[in-house]
């Protein structure tokens, strides 16, 4: 049974809403860098049905250097503020650095989202120390904040499964609660669009490992390249692959656009028969 914060998740499909404390992230371009804007964003996504907020202080793409001190300044006190405002909300922090994870946990984080594939092994140890969750992501062995260039795989899905489950096993071995570990194929991380599509198409192979799967699809380049659309026109494509992944058994969906994602996940759950339709009267009267 997946557990996050104080919540036992069961069959529910969860939304992890993205809250960037960055001046330069690709989708929101700094819209929530300021504290007030970020708090407003948290209020908004909670109202829209987010289960988790994922607070990040460094954009994923290459760009101006953000050291650990600066990353902590951007995230830790904000985590504390959100914790106070929403005692039950699951708070995740998007970082690869152990020292940042430590300060985030002290401030009340429930989950460490390691999107760079265990680049800093200390992060898992921090998760163990504080009894919080950990996301184990496949980044194809790339160092943090680098782009994939001419990457080849014998079998990308096999590599994803081997990499993420090895990280998960290692996390357990250092003391992370196995019920608090998620695996993430890392769409676009160490992958070109074809690789991300293959991982999407075969996500059920990852689900079959038994580890709960988190997917981070939102407005990414593989959606943009698949449809030939710029970053401000990728919501529909994102929702389509959200449904594809949900159908195959992904459990947590990291997203910018919370309200439409909630509707897609509810519709998938109703279609699978794990959620009751809201009102079915047509032809039944």
């Amino acid at each position: 049974m997946l557990r996050l914060g104080r919540r036992a998740v069961g069959e529910d499909l969860l939304i992890m809403a993205i809250v960037n404390r960055t001046p330069d992230s690709f989708y929101d371009r700094g819209a929530t860098f300021a504290r007030e804007e970020a708090l407003r964003r948290v209020d908004e996504v909670v109202a829209e049905g987010a289960d988790i907020v994922d607070i990040g202080g460094v954009k994923a793409a290459p760009g101006s250097e953000v050291d650990a001190r600066e990353e902590i300044d951007r995230t830790a006190s904000f985590v504390a503020e959100v914790r106070e405002r929403y005692p039950e909300l699951i708070i995740s922090v998007d970082t690869w650095r152990g020292e940042v994870g430590r300060e985030a946990c002290r401030a009340g984080a429930d989950l460490l989202n390691d999107a760079w594939g265990g680049a800093d092994p200390e992060l898992a140890e921090v998760a163990a120390e504080f009894g919080v969750g950990l996301v184990c992501t496949h980044a194809g062995g790339l160092p943090p904040r680098t782009r994939p260039h001419r990457i080849e795989y014998d079998d990308v899905v096999a590599d994803v499964i081997a990499g993420t489950t090895a990280l998960a096993r290692r996390a357990v071995s250092v003391g992370v609660d196995p019920e608090r570990i998620l695996i993430d194929p890392g769409h676009d991380f160490g992958k070109n669009t074809w690789h991300s599509l293959e991982v999407t198409r075969r996500l059920e192979e990852m689900v079959a490992t038994g580890w709960p799967v988190l997917v981070s699809l939102s407005n990414k380049d593989f959606v943009g390249e698949a449809l030939g659309v710029p970053v401000d026109q990728r919501v529909v494509g994102t929702l389509a692959v959200t449904a594809v992944c949900a159908w195959q058994g992904a459990r947590v969906f990291r997203a910018h656009n919370v309200a439409p994602t909630r509707q897609v996940l509810d519709m998938v759950a109703v279609t699978r028969g794990v959620r009751e339709p809201v009102r079915t009267v047509r032809g039944l009267a």
């Binding site: 760009g63 782009r147 001419r150 990457i151 080849e152 795989y153 014998d154 079998d155 990308v156």
Partner: protein
């Protein structure tokens, strides 16, 4: 004896089908590359030697599977064992319309300039009329949107390589520094040093059909034909 040579990029997106739908920038590049290999083949060659970066310096079977499934797995396009290194596959694909014997010669991307020269001299000494298709490209650190982000040296080094290829300046290619090229993610260095040695027996006139970096990597398509006295 080398009778004509050309240089084309080693970008995976030149392999058929890898861009999904047609991408105008790629089609323009591909058209230039096809013209270049056609120019080489059109000089009445007995064989074409394709030289491109590889894990090891050795010939690769000309019927080896394509690496397309490793780069772009899709239904009906699975990864295949024993696939060619991408540069050799790109060269083969550009030559697919020409019924001429192919030798796919890999060169270790990290080969020293001396090893590159030895291989080049061997190729240059082949009997008969040999056409040379060299697959290699330039830096990938040309700017914030480039695959390897920014290195302030990249534009100058790329410009000097483009100039050396255009002028068929063999000495300038031989002098390329392996460490600097590695830093800038310049993958063509070893292949160009093979080219320079293979072409050493005559003087050449270079002609650039394409020189641009639409995706943040420096690409050139250049032909070398013997200079007429």
């Amino acid at each position: 004896m080398i009778v004509a040579a050309c240089c084309v990029p080693q970008a995976p997106l030149l392999l058929p089908g890898l861009t999904g739908g047609p991408v105008p920038e790629v089609e323009e590049l591909r058209a230039a590359a096809l013209t270049a290999v056609e120019t080489v083949v059109g000089r009445g060659v007995d064989e074409i030697v394709v030289v491109g970066g590889a894990p090891h310096t050795r010939p690769y079977p000309s019927d080896a599977p394509t690496p397309a499934g490793r780069l772009a797995p899709a239904p009906g396009r699975p990864p295949q064992p024993g696939a060619l290194p991408v540069p050799l596959a790109v060269g083969r694909s550009l030559l697919s319309g020409h019924p001429v014997p192919l030798i796919l010669q890999g060169v270790d991307e990290h080969a020293s300039p001396g090893d590159g020269r030895d291989l080049g001299l061997e190729i240059g000494a082949r009997p008969g009329r040999t056409g040379l298709v060299v697959v290699g490209d330039g830096g990938a650190r040309r700017g914030e949107k480039a695959p390897g982000y920014v290195d302030p040296r990249a534009l100058d080094v790329d410009a000097s390589i483009g100039d050396a290829l255009t002028r068929a300046d063999l000495a300038a290619l031989v002098a390329l520094d392996p460490g600097l090229c590695d830093d800038l993610l310049i993958r063509g260095r070893a292949a160009w040093q093979v080219m320079a040695a293979a072409a050493r027996a005559r003087s050449w006139t270079g002609h650039t059909l394409y020189g641009d970096a639409p995706f943040g990597v420096a690409y050139w398509v250049v032909t070398w034909l013997p200079t007429t006295p």
